[in-house]
Amino acid sequence: MTDMTESRCINMTEKTAEKMTGEISEKKTGKKAEKTAGKMIGNIAGIMIGNIAGKMIGNITRKKQVQEFRKNRLAVLGVLLIAFLAFLALFAPLVSPHDPLEQKLERGLEGPSLEYPFGTDNLGRCIFSRVVYGTQVSLGIGVLVVTATSIAGTLLGILSGYKGGLFDEIVMRGVDIVLAFPNIILALVIAGLLGSGFFNVVLALSLTQWPVYTRLVRAQVLSLKKQAFVEAARALRASNFYIMRRHILPNCMGSVVVLGTLEIAHVIIFAAALSFLGLGIPMPTAEWGSMLKEGIPYLLSAPHLTFFPGLMIMLTVLAFNFAGDGLRDCLDTGTGVMA
């Protein structure tokens, strides 16, 4: 009985504590909203991403995690930027004033003006429109590569960590081989063999990025495997597949989500590098990396050719890094065994 009453007391205090922190943060957000509308949007975005992440990871501490995330201004800024970039990518035809491929040679190398907000390139194409359309390519590659590699890498990591033995040996040697090469060299070789093109870039990047997840997940599985709840499931004589799906996978998801967010930034910069070297997206298509390359001869006479695509790459990478860092911080503090 005393145990019960004691636990009730603890629950009560927890509840009141939660209420109090809730009130405080509400007051804070109230003030913020009065200050600027922008910050309010930030809060909404924070709640949204927090909710999505929380659902993926399935934890009751969602509320606390969302609060944690919203407190992190950089993370909220990152999410806002990502939302903005996604908007650009989805509504590129509406946002851009010109056709990104339309050439007006007589108006080449113009500086920013009302008609051409970011100026024109050497062939008289609108740089603003090209930058906007480039968002589609970069985000597309980032999302596709990260989706493919995180699923494949996580599955391999769980299997090799849980099964161990020969399978583990083979997978980990595969990981070692891929990681032994400098990433860019390996991607160049693959992209060179396959030729340029959107899906070839996705494939080349995927083939170089999967080991990152496999390593992370395998390490987590090795420690999860020794946890009492996994041993308890084995004592229940649950099948290995069941244990991996119900007990191992949910406890790895947090870190995979965080790593995936940070990886998007990495992949985008990587894809731009490939295009810059001429092995990425073929020529006329608007892509930030190839825009940089085309602008190099005019670096001194017309720096806006390289400035704007470079700025976009930087902003995108920063946005995903901020969001990823924020996600990691808010997931780390809350979850039991590991985020």
Partner: protein
């Protein structure tokens, strides 16, 4: 009537790349356990108590020796028969906060064994879970929480409720109360003893605390260096 008979059970670990080093964690242990009785197992840490408990359950494969459960040798069981063994022999671990999946609600933790073994349908599941959590004197309100929101004593009760759903005949209790404070410890021990009287469960009760073992057990075995050196 004998429920469990262990004959000359051995569990060795070998290590070392050039010179084989053999660690005899359990080195030829034999004992018998009757239905509804408790065998206490005491010994210093590292003497092989926990390894013995796990080897008896076949959570670890024995190096040699035989385990008979209800006059049936269990070391050769596979597939469906091994799965059924999961409903008959169970284990309670030392760390209650690590014994439950942090991503599962208490309700699912308790319902999980029922689902794995298909012991009751969707409808009956809810009543059964309520019955089980009532059986260990916990509030129904806790069912929709996550393990990290409960105290150690509450968690250990959930662990017990979850196992009881299977109606096991034999439970290995591996220092079930060593991580709890004395008051809660006494409550959990009383609960275990009550369950034993009500359901006729046999226990292998592992502990390093002689007082606890003395109170719980009908017979006490003392282990040292992988061997049982004394019965009393």
């Amino acid at each position: 009537m004998t429920l469990l008979k262990v004959e000359n059970l051995k569990k060795y670990y070998s290590s070392g790349l050039f010179r084989r080093q053999v660690n005899r964690a359990v080195d030829g242990v034999s004992f018998e356990l009757e239905r509804g009785k408790t065998l206490g197992l005491v010994g210093k840490s590292g003497c092989g108590k926990s390894t013995l408990g796990r080897t008896v359950l076949r959570l670890l494969e024995p190096t040699a020796g035989k385990v008979f459960f209800e006059d049936r040798e269990i070391s050769g069981l596979r597939g469906r028969e091994l799965k059924k063994l999961g409903t008959e022999m169970q284990i309670i671990f030392q760390h209650p906060e690590a014994s439950l999946n942090p991503k599962m609600r208490i309700y699912d933790c308790i319902a999980e064994p029922l689902r794995i073994h298909g012991l009751c349908g969707k409808e009956a599941e809810k009543t059964r879970v309520l019955e089980l959590i009532g059986g260990v004197a916990l509030d129904e309100e806790l069912l929709f929480r996550y393990p990290r929101e409960l105290s150690g004593g509450q968690l250990q009760r959930v662990v017990i409720a979850r196992i009881l759903g299977l109606k096991p005949k034999f439970i290995v209790a591996d220092e079930p109360t060593s991580m709890l404070d004395p008051l809660v410890q006494a409550q959990i021990l009383t609960l275990l003893k009550k369950l034993q009287q009500d359901c006729g469960i046999s226990f292998l009760f592992i502990s390093h605390d002689p007082a606890v073992v003395e109170w719980m057990s009908d017979e006490v075995a003392v282990m040292e260096g992988g061997k049982i050196v004394e019965f009393h």
